[in-house]
Symmetry: C2
Subunit: 318 residues, 2 copies
């Protein structure tokens, strides 16, 4: 969940739509703007988030098995829990499939959802089924957040880190779109991404000041972190940890590898701001890629070879 918000957002057409909705809702939606909504009950804060995955928009049926469609949709939501520093409790799923298909489709998709949620330590809490024009899943994830992480809170002098490696999912999509079979590792990043639950928990517990997941691509998401925190985030693209499949696909696309990786959406890695005294645990794959500077320019600055570059973020409406 990143898309209905009254917290400052970075640039982009998709985010213009969100700003319009937030303005229209006004007091009917007073506290939005992070990867998760938070509800405090007693000593516990629950984190809640909704993400929708639509056939033909977020995936194509020929790319994925039905189980993978379910898995991937679940991870889109579980990853937002990770970014909130939350432990998953479970998910609720609204699933539509075309009228001609019956039990086997529902069952296979839900089985993939169940596998991803079980791996993350939760269960399927409930759901709703309907006929529809295409496979569409809205997955709502709920978890417990001991120290709720938001996009706001990054301060000047913080370092900016990213988990894992970027660009794998985009490399798979680029191969499919070119009529080639993707690299198996890249395909796995797209088809069975893993939510960074334990990394998110560790970072929240060890002083992270702001966090989000890279669902729309580093270029756009770094801008959101910067805008929400009212700071400037400066990233050296040379530092980006690129998935091994990126160089070949980047060459085919005529882009430098880190630019290709930074423009890729849906890697479901975490982008986090940490005070410089925090030394990441050796058990978590983290790479320092930039720093937080004073000054609210409404976004981030990406540099490659000492020059500033401008990258469009991934837009589900483009």
């Amino acid at each position: 969940m990143t898309r209905v918000t009254s917290t400052p957002l970075g640039r982009g057409r998709e985010f213009d739509r969100i700003r319009a909705i937030a303005a229209a809702l006004g007091p009917r939606a007073p506290e939005l703007g992070n990867d998760c909504a938070f509800i405090k009950t007693g000593d516990t804060t629950l984190a809640l988030t909704t993400d929708v995955s639509v056939e033909g928009i977020h995936f194509r049926r020929e790319w994925l098995s039905l189980e993978e469609i379910g898995w991937r949709a679940a991870v889109a939501s579980l990853s937002d829990l990770a970014a909130a520093g939350a432990d998953p409790i479970g998910v609720l799923v609204a699933l539509t499939v075309p009228g001609g298909e019956g039990e086997p489709t529902f069952t296979s998709v839900m089985s993939g959802v169940g596998d991803a949620v079980a791996l993350a330590g939760g269960t399927v809490l409930g759901g709703d089924l309907s006929r529809g024009a295409a496979i569409s899943l809205a997955v709502t994830a709920v978890g417990a957040a001991p120290r709720p992480m938001r996009r706001s809170g990054a301060g000047p002098g913080n370092d900016v880190w990213v988990t894992g490696a970027l660009g794998g999912a985009r490399a798979a999509v680029a191969a499919w779109n070119a009529g080639r079979e993707p690299d198996p590792g890249a395909r796995a990043r797209f088809a069975r991404p893993e939510p960074r639950i334990s990394a998110g928990r560790w970072l929240a517990a060890h002083g992270a000041t702001a966090m989000l997941d890279l669902s729309d691509g580093l270029a756009g998401d770094a801008g959101h972190l910067a805008a929400a925190s009212r700071v400037t985030i400066r990233i050296q693209l040379e530092r980006l940890p690129c998935h091994p499949a990126v160089p070949a696909e980047a060459r085919a696309a005529g882009e430098p590898a880190p630019v290709f990786a930074a423009r890729g959406g849906e890697d479901y890695e975490l982008l986090v701001a940490l005070p410089p005294e925090v030394l990441p645990d050796a058990g978590i794959a983290l790479t320092r890629i930039g720093r937080v500077e004073a000054g609210d320019i409404g976004g981030s600055v990406l540099e490659l070879g000492g020059h500033q570059v401008s990258l469009a973020s991934y837009d589900h409406f483009a």
Copy 2:
């Protein structure tokens, strides 16, 4: 939310699909089967539910304004909170609209959602937007349930009551399908139903033993209450409170008025089992329509004029 479950369900094709999913998920979905999922944190129990509304399946665009589409979808979920005896906190919304439409559609639909949620005492907590083949909203509602109500728990000797009047929404749809303008009151029941939040809270606090909302029609839903409680529910259809628009539309359909009303889905009234000593508050519109008997026949018995009648429940896949 009524549709992924491992609690016994009544008869019907839609429910066969759900049984298959519950069987496939096994321990990955261990505690399903009520209008809401419940999460206990400290002294508070949260109720969560998801419902999906799809253009062409649950509504037609020519019947409703965009705001009404949003309102109605929100109430489908808020009504499940009512049936759980819960007070709404807020909703998360996954909204897809066709690619050619932009901000005005998103904003109008979300405005209707916001109005319904505000009336019920909650706010819009977050959401996700996407392009899709048609308007489709998955609304997840969350609330606090001081005494969580389930479908199971109805005991022999309980009376069975229903809130409000039934059949109004079906009367509107019947008129539209016949090319006529519906009765304005019936149209309002379809376009702007009201979740029975305060009735649900009162009933939960005053000894109700089992409750659900009539989203699929009395015929099917009474069967679910009976199956989940492992009892028989016997209903006298003559007692049904019918919406004023029902008699005329029932005549046009060639059905007795109470049969027409009992087969209608999506009135979002509550069906509740109460011990006989509970006397409903004068401020809540409640009608006693039957009673709970011992014996698990996996459903309910509907009687009209002393004879048992069989009614198909509303099926979103038919």
